[in-house]
């Protein structure tokens, strides 16, 4: 994999004169100040990552090519040292149609504290527990413009497994996850062809509505305990699912009202989940240029305490403070409060541009009180602060 990426990169460099580049190289350090629960774990995790986007438009045609390799080297956790092609797609646009073929990255949804309807791409969980990093998905994607909105079709041949921290990594449970022996409900395993359809449109100018359908391999694995062969370990099991998703945003001056909901069916089970709330922004607070947004989002999952996510009956409260200065200084802070179990978790993010090409980001994650019945209980000792210095080009 690494060899292929390198040779692809060298080939692209030779074409650089006709191309556009952008990307970043980022140095990162994570510090976990609580004692590790498991002996293999460390307190400090330095790592280095790079992401480069190469774009080439073929003159005189409607085709373009985008390739976005990503690589991270982690000083401690072998599983976090990984490479991926975030995108490698041929794009074609003509008339009312657009097509993509290759590895694509797609985002669906409107809410901030959880991306519930977003299902095309697998989560690159070793990157960050916020679930916003995604692996490139093999796809054929068609987009059709209609008067009322858009219709999108996805044929997804090939499945990407979720990444998990290794035994040396923090932010993991007591048992290692054996990603080399993942199991599937489908006989075709990771070669099962998935399908998705999305309709999106705007109603009365201010209401943006999306309706999506997905049929195929679930991106969320069930972790199954295996004891055979001595060491107990967890094996990811990927069931087949059908899912309907709804996303809705009303943009009404200072208010953004948001809702995401899914209904998911397994061969022998089903559940519903939703997240909904608002973001209200105070513009130009105290006669300054700064804006302050306050966010509230409520999470619900019909599986209740059996849900494998921490979002079964939770309230997210957050604030976004944007200075709107030349350095684009921004601070985000939020807390997730479990209304049933009483668990609390907090997250703070700060970022600011330095000079013309650098950016510094600081992130802190605090697991306040975590109830033993909460799926996040194994992470209770993994409060961390993360510093990132990125050079963009």
């Amino acid at each position: 994999m690494k060899g292929k990426i390198l040779s692809a990169a060298l080939l692209l460099f030779s074409l650089a004169s006709q191309a556009e580049w952008r990307g970043n190289v980022t140095a990162e350090a994570r510090y976990f100040w609580n004692d590790a629960l498991y002996t293999e774990q460390e307190d400090i995790y330095p790592s280095l990552s790079a992401e480069v986007e190469y774009y080439h438009a073929f003159d005189g045609t409607d085709y373009s090519l985008t390739i976005t390799p990503f690589y991270r080297h982690d000083g401690v956790d072998e599983e976090r040292t990984h490479a991926d092609l975030r995108e490698a797609r041929l794009h074609f646009a003509r008339g009312d149609w657009e097509w993509d073929a290759g590895l694509i990255k797609v985002f669906w949804g409107v809410t901030e504290s959880r991306h519930l309807v977003d299902i095309i791409n697998q989560t690159d969980l070793v990157e960050n527990i916020d679930g916003e990093d995604k692996l490139g998905q093999p796809a054929l994607h068609g987009l059709w413009y209609r008067d009322w909105g858009t219709v999108e079709l996805f044929v997804l041949p090939g499945f990407r497994e979720r990444t998990f921290p290794g035994v040396d990594g923090r932010l993991r449970g007591p048992l290692p996850i054996d990603t080399d022996h993942a199991q599937y409900e489908s006989d075709r395993e990771d070669r099962h062809v998935d399908y998705a359809l999305r309709l999106a449109g705007t109603v009365h100018d201010d209401w943006d509505l999306g309706l999506s359908f997905f049929s195929g391999t679930s991106r969320d694995p069930q972790l199954r305990l295996v004891t055979a062969g001595g060491q107990p370990r967890l094996i990811p099991y990927y069931p087949q699912i059908d899912q309907i998703g709804l996303d809705l945003q009303a943009t009404l001056e200072n208010w953004l009202w948001k809702l995401e909901a899914i209904h998911r069916e397994f061969s022998d089970d089903r559940f519903d989940a939703m997240v909904g709330g608002f973001e209200y922004t105070f513009y130009g607070i105290a006669e300054s240029d700064a804006d302050l947004g306050v966010l509230m989002e409520y999470h619900r999952d019909s599986r209740g305490k059996d849900a494998p996510t921490p979002f079964q009956n939770d309230l997210f409260l957050g604030a976004r403070w944007a200075l709107n200065d030349a350095q684009s200084t921004e601070l985000l802070a939020g807390g997730l409060f479990d209304l049933e179990l009483g668990s609390r978790g907090y997250r703070v993010e700060f970022n600011r541009r330095i000079g013309q090409n650098w950016k510094i980001t600081a992130e802190a994650q605090l697991f306040g009180h975590i109830d033993p019945k909460d799926p996040q209980y194994p992470l209770r000792s993994d409060d961390f602060i993360q510093l990132e210095l990125a050079r963009f080009f």
Binding site: A57, E98, Y145, D205, T251, R353, N357, K359
Partner: protein, 259 residues
């Protein structure tokens, strides 16, 4: 008979000219300026924005602009950010309207997320500059109430001096005083007064060039903030008119594949 003709002539001409108030004259000039600029179709241009703080430190932004004229409504426009490097690939789509709030979308390339955002923030700074969003937006006639103040020389030209008061919600200004030349309606200078009616900013527009033998655009716009000592200079290059852009090109889904 001659008596009646005299009355009709007086009503038609004398009456109109004499009865025109300062407000009517201001509105008439704004309508004439708007009519003069109609029919440009679409344009693309490159913008370099240089922010200068009180100590003279500079930071630079490069933005490409694509604008489509919309008959009977505000323009549609796309801003594609090339610099600073950390926002490269970010793009903003705006459907501007008269008094109705604009529709606005922001594309975040790291997440591949198109985000519908509120256009409520009219008075907020654009990219940390001294230009507010409302200074750079489409200038529809109905957005202001006008009053003609006077006529005076402005450099090599003769200018109308007009006061305009924003009629749209959430403006950061009580009023603006605009100097525009009598011949081609080129805006030479704008003085902005804050919500307390104190002088806030001065915009000077210069190095006008003519496109398609009719449409005039400034190559340089300098905004000086009188209250905080900061300034921002916009330099416009590579203006191209009637490039063949269509309404379809201004769809939020197009934000994902802009280059």
């Amino acid at each position: 008979m001659k008596y009646w003709i005299a009355i009709i002539v007086a009503l038609l001409f004398g009456g109109v000219v004499q009865a025109e108030t300062a407000e009517e004259k201001g509105l008439r000039i704004a309508q004439e300026a708007d009519a003069y600029d109609k029919g440009f179709g679409d344009f693309t241009a490159d913008m370099t924005m240089t922010l200068r703080n009180r100590k003279g430190q500079e930071s630079v932004r490069h933005i490409r602009i694509r604008t489509l004229e919309v008959d009977g409504d505000g323009d549609k426009s796309m801003s594609i950010f090339d610099e600073p490097a950390d926002v490269k690939g970010t793009a903003m789509l705006t459907f501007s309207h008269g008094l109705k709030p604009d529709d606005q979308w922001l594309y975040l390339p790291a997440l591949k997320r198109v985000k519908r955002i509120s256009s409520r923030n009219k008075s907020g700074p654009f990219m940390g500059s001294e230009f507010a969003f409302e200074d750079l937006g489409s200038q529809e006639v109905e957005k202001y109430a006008y009053r003609f103040l006077r006529e005076e020389p402005c450099g090599q030209w003769q200018c109308h001096v007009i006061e305009r008061r924003p009629q749209y919600k959430y403006s950061g200004y009580t009023r603006q005083v605009v100097w525009l030349d009598k011949d081609k309606y080129r805006i030479v200078k704008v003085e902005y007064y804050d919500r307390k009616n104190k002088p806030l900013k001065t915009l000077t527009m210069s190095d006008y060039k003519e496109y398609l033998g009719h449409y005039w655009r400034p190559s340089k716009m300098e905004m000086k903030n009188l209250q905080n000592g900061k300034s921002t200079v916009l330099e416009w290059k590579n203006y191209k008119f009637r490039t063949g852009l269509r309404a379809k090109d201004f769809n939020k889904n197009k934000l994902k594949n802009l280059h």
